[in-house]
Subunit: 659 residues, 2 copies
């Protein structure tokens, strides 16, 4: 009956043939050979329940949406590659004729260096720092909105097909023992009871976050000190590829730290949430997710944020450097800006994190555990052939327990963050994400079908808090991208130079314009380079990348007017970018209806049917009441539904005829 | 029955006693004596229908919410009054000892003037330009969000009480003759058919908007020319209060123009919408509202926006002024910034618009029309006593037709715009709005009950597009206020001076810092003042309000470093302000549930009842079918869907009893 699909009767959907289902799933879903096909969501749902079904549906939509993003990203990257040779700034840097002497990169040990040596990085950084990236980050902001809308519609459709329209999760109260405290708090907890727990959470969260910051800072110190050490070391081999070595090692350390901390943080978040004794299972889950998300997010993005926004801004200037812990100078960026290093960091984090987590954590460890369990049961002298004839639920004993799908979601959300937040600096991120997800889907499928015990089907109407987190991320992404373009990339300075300072409104002379002058006699004593190195002349003036007054001005080394002008333009760009993108997003959001047309029509029809049914019901009731008045005899037998119905049905027919 | 309120059966609510209802409404609602009471919304709804009821409910909520805003606004204003005497900048301006010679305000006719003469405006502008206004505009941004949330909840409650939960407006198609074209377009119109109409709309809208701009510019020219004329005129009386005269007259002209254009624009919007031949009545209304809103909004806010953001920025500098149409110099602001004039404009617009529109358009004209209709019918020799015994619907003939409530909404939305958009510059706006609305409610009530014919009760679930417009406005308000604080007020320059430039980090010397130097010998010939006027010495250097290099610098009269630094800070402030406020708004939005707790519980209960009822229904059907199998005699009557429903209904009654 049509109204059936309007009202969910709250029954859990169990499928009849368990093993058969598994086989079917394995063939149609859990093998790499079908990676290009859509997933059999209906089958997944009927085997694992709505909650898991929704996750895979969502993952499918996300992966599907990543395809266009990846394509555009690759095009943007290729555009960078194509235009690298007619990029005037990098040409000027690479041109040996204008040999510019740069100030040393570290005290005493380092010496003056020629700008030409930065040619490679300059050319490389153009790949990620070109006008196309601006367009791309706008595109990705809208992409995020489109993704949201697309998912909303898909979810609505699934809700309809799965009879979840009228389904609202009833919040069963958590039993105290599960919430990890004694039975005494079955009594309602007041705010004052909860306060200490909340305070603990807040404090702990703060502490954890500061731990992350500390570790990141530690890595920075490592980079600085190693660099200094390598500079002093006399191995030419070491000297030559100092930067590369340091960057990669540091990034790898970061990566390892992140992965380790992730595990720790997950445990801590769980513990804190249990402390809070949430009222319902739903709120427990949501609080847990939220905490875990905050911690993991900070953990994953702190190094990136540092690279994007702080690295190279806190260095001070020649003659007045900023020193940390004793005599370490804050590190500068390579000449062509920090964007390059940001890219490397992102690249390593994304690839590394995904590879390691996927292979090690998602395949390796489950397999290992399974093996161990098998071994254990064998130790208890169980013969192979016995294992053969074991019942399904006995075999399942060898499988790992089902840990819920929230870890899977979390992983994806962090990836979504990588894809949207810093896309301005790394247009290949969507491609990496796409490749990862194509594997991820089948990997998770395999895991769910073969490695883990089958979960109890859980009903769910939507992806819950995850949707809000996604929405939040895509909002933050807009402002972050605005800042990356405005401050991390050289986009704005180039623009300003071309239209305000350039004599012939070309980029010629841009490099010279970005370099300030420093008189080597103004070095603080003890910081000047030891040997002036293989330069055939005495260095009087060295250059450094900043907008400051020259030594011969009335206020030497002060921030110059250019600095303030460019800063103003940068900020203006942020305002314009943010508001334009937000406007466009709202427009797209308003343009696309949340409920697909056909579905909404169906729902409308069914409602009308419902109404008619109901009116009949009412009518019938009225008549029935009349009948009760008419024949008193009916009152006693009418207690049973069956017998009295006969005569009345006739009477109805008559009354109907009389209308 | 509880499920009755769950399903709306789509019947229009007609009330039984028409005249009695009117009297009741008059006593309890349509008289000023009850202004302090809540409105009898239920009664209004049962007399005028949901649509009107919702309007008055909304107006009530809005007025109620205005009370706290008005109070805070007054406090902020009083704070300004209290601190006016210890405001160092205005003290410095008013101090005759540091007599600063300012450059002339117009060519030739005007002469140099002493800064001391600007003392009054400087003191006055402090009332509206003090740190409290920053706080206030943040408060108002949050207030707007709270208002939205509050209304959402109220609406939900009304929906529940009025049985509108399941009600979705069915979109009846507009019949062609109403859409103003011949019957031939009963056939479905394709996009290509509609294109010309859409193009016309867009073009016309553009044209209308540019007309508004042209008129505003005309008023500006008027101001400039009059000022020049008055300067030349020799009447000291005229000279003395030049500014006041010009300001007020200009503002009044603006006001009149606005009011006249409003009427014209309403007609044009209607015409354009008819051209577009919308499919449904709903879309017709929405398109009409949207167009009217755009036009009226632009019309109302263009002069204000000009004052806030453009006035005094396009003047150029002494010796190189910007001239418009021949020899008119663009007007500058009074020394203490344009905020003062913005206030006057807002004040006049709000008061004037509301007074005139309320009294003239809403009382005067209806009364007049009524009178005319009476006179006409009297002309047709109708005796007074006959009028007495006339039937209600005959009497109604004397009343004006019901024009819909959209004009009322429109008026309120524009007012909402005034209250939220420029609240940073005029903290008394909420108070004005409140006073107006207290009258407005009763005025509309009187009009609806007595002046106009009773409308056909129209059903509505929400306030429709108006909600979106409100939401949009409150979003725009945030950024507009950010810009007003950053650029129109002197808040940021003061801050920067105090923390960056001030020798003793106080405000002392701020005025001097904001004034640039001009060497009078650099005047373009023919622009220097004719007579150096009653100054006992020859003026060498005059000052003007701008951040530019002094004449003796290497680049005289260029924008100085201070200018760029302050600009950067201003833009930074906009970014911070906008994002902080948006974050807080989202937080508030997330904090307050859209559906009141008790209502949601009720709805949940009723859904469960519905489900049970439905299951009984199903069960009954099954039983009935069995019966049909048992006795073949029943097969013929059971062909109509009535008879099987009998046992069902019965069982329901019993199950109800057994609860």
């Amino acid at each position: 009956s049509p109204s059936n699909s309007h009202l969910s009767l709250g029954t859990h959907s169990k499928n009849m043939y368990m093993h058969g289902g598994a086989v079917l799933l394995y063939e149609q879903w859990a093998s790499y050979s079908v990676f290009y096909k859509y997933q059999p969501i209906g089958l997944i749902r009927s085997y694992f329940g709505e909650k898991v079904g929704l996750y895979f549906a969502w993952l499918g939509v996300y992966t599907q949406m990543l395809i266009p993003a990846a394509i555009i990203g690759v095009i943007v990257f290729l555009y960078g590659c194509a235009t690298v040779d007619d990029n005037i700034p990098s040409m000027e840097i690479c041109d040996p004729r204008n040999n510019i002497t740069m100030c040393p990169l570290c005290d005493r040990a380092c010496s003056y260096w020629k700008l030409v040596t930065a040619c490679g990085t300059a050319r490389a950084s153009h790949l990620f720092d070109n006008p196309a990236t601006v367009f791309f980050s706008i595109f990705m902001a809208l992409w995020a909105v489109l993704f949201m809308e697309h998912w909303k519609r898909r979810q609505m459709r699934l809700n309809y097909v799965w009879d979840l329209m009228g389904f609202g999760e009833e919040e069963e109260v958590r039993e105290p023992q599960r919430s990890g405290s004694d039975t005494s708090d079955k009594v309602k907890l007041t705010c004052t009871d909860r306060l200490p727990a909340y305070l603990t959470s807040v404090v702990m969260m703060g502490f954890m976050i500061s731990v992350t910051f500390a570790i990141v800072f530690g890595v920075i110190l490592y980079r600085i000190s190693i660099k200094a050490a390598l500079h002093i070391s006399t191995y030419p081999a070491a000297r030559s590829n100092i930067r590369a070595t340091v960057k990669t090692t540091a990034a790898i350390i970061n990566l390892i730290v992140i992965i380790i901390l992730d595990e720790i943080y997950a445990a801590i978040a769980r513990w804190l949430t249990i402390l809070e004794v949430p009222k319902t299972d739903k709120s427990f889950e949501e609080r847990l997710i939220f905490k875990t998300f905050i911690l993991k997010f900070v953990n994953a993005f702190t190094p990136i944020v540092y690279l994007a926004f702080f690295r190279g801004r806190l260095v001070g200037r020649p003659g007045n450097y900023l020193y940390v812990v004793g005599s370490y100078r804050m590190e500068e960026c390579a000449h062509a800006g920090c964007l390059m290093e940001l890219c490397i960091q992102l690249c390593i984090t994304m690839l590394g994190k995904q590879l390691i987590q996927n292979n090690l954590f998602e395949i390796g460890i489950p397999k290992l555990k399974k093996l161990l369990r098998k071994r254990k049961s064998e130790v208890t002298s169980l013969q192979e052939e016995e294992v053969k004839i074991l019942k399904r639920y006995e075999k399942d004993h060898f499988l790992g327990p089902f840990a819920g799908i929230n870890p899977e979601y979390m992983e994806m959300i962090i990836q979504f963050g990588m894809v949207t937040l810093f896309v301005a600096s790394f247009p290949l991120a969507p491609l990496f994400a796409l490749l990862n997800n194509i594997i991820e889907i089948r990997l998770d499928a395999k895991k769910f079908v073969m490695e883990l015990r089958r979960p109890i089907a859980a009903k769910a109407k939507d992806i819950g808090i995850w949707y809000n987190l996604l929405r939040g991320l895509s909002k933050v992404a807009v402002i972050v991208n605005a800042f990356v373009i405005a401050f991390t990339s050289d986009f704005i300075p180039r623009l300003v130079y071309q239209y305000a300072y350039s004599p012939d409104s070309t980029m010629h002379g841009f490099v010279n314009h970005t370099l300030s002058y420093f008189n080597v006699s103004d070095f603080q004593k003890g910081t000047a380079p030891l040997e002036p190195m293989h330069l055939h002349y005495k260095v009087q003036i060295c250059r450094y990348k900043d907008y400051r007054e020259p030594p011969w001005s009335s206020t030497p080394y002060d921030l110059s007017k250019e600095f303030w002008a460019i800063l103003a333009v940068r900020l203006a760009f942020v305002i314009v970018f943010q508001n334009v993108v937000m406007l466009m997003s709202d427009f797209v959001d308003w343009l696309i209806p949340d409920i697909p047309k056909d579905i909404s029509l169906q729902i409308h029809k069914e409602k009308i049917l419902m109404v008619e049914l109901f009116m009949k019901e009412e009518q019938g009731k009225r008549l029935a009441v009349q009948d009760n008045h008419n024949q008193e005899t009916c009152t006693i037998p009418s207690s049973d539904d069956q017998s009295p119905s006969r005569p009345r049905s006739h009477s109805v027919i008559h009354s109907k005829a009389s209308w």
